[in-house]
Symmetry: C2
Subunit: 256 residues, 2 copies
Amino acid sequence: MGKIVAIANQKGGVGKTTTAINMGACLAILEKKILLVDADPQANSTSGLGIETTEDQLTIYDCMINGVSAKEVIIPTNTPNLYILPSHIDLVGAELELVSRMRREYTLQGVLDKVKDDYDYILIDCMPSLGLLAVNALTAADAVIIPIQTEIYALEGLQKLKNTIELVREHLNPNLEIEGIVMTMYDSRLRLANMILEEVRQNLTDPLFDTIIHRNSKISESPSMKAPVIMYDAASTGSLNFMQLAMEFLKRNNDV
Amino acid sequence: MGKIVAIANQKGGVGKTTTAINMGACLAILEKKILLVDADPQANSTSGLGIETTEDQLTIYDCMINGVSAKEVIIPTNTPNLYILPSHIDLVGAELELVSRMRREYTLQGVLDKVKDDYDYILIDCMPSLGLLAVNALTAADAVIIPIQTEIYALEGLQKLKNTIELVREHLNPNLEIEGIVMTMYDSRLRLANMILEEVRQNLTDPLFDTIIHRNSKISESPSMKAPVIMYDAASTGSLNFMQLAMEFLKRNNDV
Ligand SMILES: Nc1ncnc2c1ncn2[C@@H]1O[C@H](COP(=O)(O)OP(=O)(O)OP(=O)(O)O)[C@@H](O)[C@H]1O
Ligand SMILES: Nc1ncnc2c1ncn2[C@@H]1O[C@H](COP(=O)(O)OP(=O)(O)OP(=O)(O)O)[C@@H](O)[C@H]1O
Ligand SMILES: [Mg+2]
Ligand SMILES: [Mg+2]
């Protein structure tokens, strides 16, 4: 019974896509069957795994707006056990097209219900917003992972995201819980980074993953190689960090 | 006659807010009267300049949805000559509320028309999206500055943004032009950063600012001091880079 986890934060550039691709790939290496849902019109999860969206390639847009079954759209990636429901820039239009539909917030949940049992875990890479597409992802999810980079704006945005999660829990998806906060792009030499990390550890009540993702050049290079960092440079700090994160995630889900 | 410049890129975390606040502050130090419009529900430009949005503080939401005049909402900042039209998380709702309005794309243009002549330059800090709010900013603007960090996803996103700019130029705002691309968070020690910089210099036909904004810890610390970097640490590389950028911008506009 696949657990659906949304990887969300309306703050831009905090490492949502990087966490989705690399935690997903490490879980796949650990023999879990993983579906990565790219719910961002930028389609960075799609391009970061080397998927070219040609004219006739169906995408998540077709599932959400034209009712195409996800089974017809999902494709394998170069990483064994890792599959993707690809995205496309057309998804920008989906928010406006969904507005007047009935049960518009449940559209993505309806799409994923049909494939949920085919995977161990489904990870949704969210766009940097709290609009209708992001609400769709939170409504479809069982839990949320919140990447936060060790920067001021990323920390400030957390409360707004938690307010939205609470609203979704009250009105749309009572089972939604916070799986955990993941600190990303951490550079131990920076005073600000250590200040933020301390603030998060001391003051936040939300579950916090022990694993910290350090800033690592192999991580930022890997999308140009169209591969997760574990496939690009398995010996790098980045690969080690994400493998630790995947193991910790499985432990928290009693699935090791 | 105030020139309106949108600072836009749908890729998250590329330095839109940092460019808006710091280029704005440096232009203000150079005795230009500057209005910073925070068109992002995250309200990072607002909080980064130390503006607390209390319950009774009016924001851009009130201008766009309730027809309140911008003159009543604009407030000064701690930096002389720098004023702000503050934002609030409620702006998330504005996209859905605008959908069924007539001439919905021209809403922000209507708001700014009334104050345009009070400022030398108006900078719009855009949210990381190509949706209705971002289209409003591009429709209201005379020109666009596109911050790009030296990363793969930021480069990939450029073509999608240019497509949207072209659509806005054809259907909504024929005068819209690209003021220039600004490279941000550049770290000369990283192979990837140099590769991206080379790619931009060789292959892009768009105007590119000579000034490069280097990664600099004072820049990322300054929002916690509620001040632009020029007011926080005037001797830092960050302050120098943004002062150079402001000077270059004025030269391009024959306004030195
Ligand atoms: N640990 C890391 N070390 C180095 N670079 C990183 C790391 N994590 C992410 N990056 C880089 O930082 C940038 C932002 O990360 P990413 O695109 O994953 O964030 P995002 O939250 O998905 O952004 P968006 O809000 O646009 O969807 C990317 O260029 C990525 O390659
Ligand atoms: N030159 C720089 N050196 C160091 N840190 C920087 C620099 N420019 C931006 N930052 C930091 O990087 C993060 C992202 O920048 P910023 O928030 O300005 O991007 P943005 O494009 O406005 O993001 P969003 O898409 O969420 O609106 C911020 O925490 C900021 O402090
Ligand atoms: Mg992303
Ligand atoms: Mg911003």
